[in-house]
Symmetry: C2
Subunit: 216 residues, 2 copies
Amino acid sequence: MTASPEVASQRIAAHLRAEILSGRIGPGERIRQEDVAARLGASRLPVREALRMLEAEGLTEHAANRGARVPALSMRQVQMLYRIRERVEPLALTDGLPHVDAALLDRLTELEARIEAGTGVGEFLALDREFHLLTYSTCDQELLTSMIVRLWNSTQHYRRAYLTITGMSHRWIAHAEHNLLIEAMRRGDPDDAERYLAGHIRRTRTELSRHPEVFV
Amino acid sequence: MTASPEVASQRIAAHLRAEILSGRIGPGERIRQEDVAARLGASRLPVREALRMLEAEGLTEHAANRGARVPALSMRQVQMLYRIRERVEPLALTDGLPHVDAALLDRLTELEARIEAGTGVGEFLALDREFHLLTYSTCDQELLTSMIVRLWNSTQHYRRAYLTITGMSHRWIAHAEHNLLIEAMRRGDPDDAERYLAGHIRRTRTELSRHPEVFV
DNA sequence: CTAGGATAAGTTGGATCCAATCCAGGATCA
DNA sequence: TGATCCTGGATTGGATCCAACTTATCCTAG
């Protein structure tokens, strides 16, 4: 989230991206070009460009002459996105693992401490996202990491809805998994790291599958 | 590839997509908005929209005030795309496997026969792409299949360059793998199907890794 | 002769206006 | 009463014009 990109379309895209990821614009909600243009003091043209950018990130969908809206995903679709994550994210983890240094491990440990200390849903969402994306930060494969970010973006709303419904109980499981992941990374063990990460995502998926009310 | 979409931006996007996938516009090549607009008899605006659509498909990349170009990928990047394919495509295969019927198997068998009978590089490229995408056609998970199409799009040029350099020799290996894949699908065996498919992609990747001259 | 900077041409980004399309509401006719 | 057609407002798609940026060229200074 840069302060103010020089290009209007990028600034507008950043604004809308934040509004969607924070939940202020929810799934199924329509985004009218003129509304956004008036609200951000620009013409409709850069808004159109911004919406196209967001479409590339999986944050909006378009239909000709019908405008843009935030996609409303079904349980089945989100389950598939998680299954894709289970296979793709370990790839980024093991690919970057040789370049993980002590400083990064310290940052991860400190992040996990803040996650365990936190209480709010919004705080957990942000820190958990930061934690996992940080474990992929040494990967240096733009095509892969942007794909992972897209997967996180598309599922962000349902993660928040799940956490809001179920509360923050039983978070100790995720904490244990995170710590095991850090430990495997510290050992530089790609097999264990991949196993813990895939298990972590898979468990999240099966837990989510028990709460269809997230998708009504 | 519809005949003529009612919306100009979609028509232009389809045109450019065909030009990029066919190799008439190669990696690193710049795409000037005005050129395309003049050539297709439209203003620059729908061209801008079309370029954004193609960006979402991984066919172009943009930089502010610098225009669009077809990405020139390095060996390392293409290798990673293949590793992603190894993990993601089996997911689509096994997910759609229960809905595979005899008619689809017949079409695959016939396609494979045409692949084995063919000689030209362009013909092989088109038929091979059609073959594999057809094995995923029963998946009905738009998010997954569009991701796979993006992966094929991004690597299309390097597949053609590889085939052009190495010629059509040793294609019998791919034929054998295709036939084993069809056979596993006929048995409805997800484990074998996934294994054959992953192996097929992996072998292609390792063969490509022996030809760095593709990327000069 | 080279390095640096000013300048001009070429290209993209943005604003405004107009056209085409979609959707909801109501009128008309069987 | 019901369905169909029409019409009006609302919204998006497209064209033209102007502004901003990038880049290459050429000139000047060292």
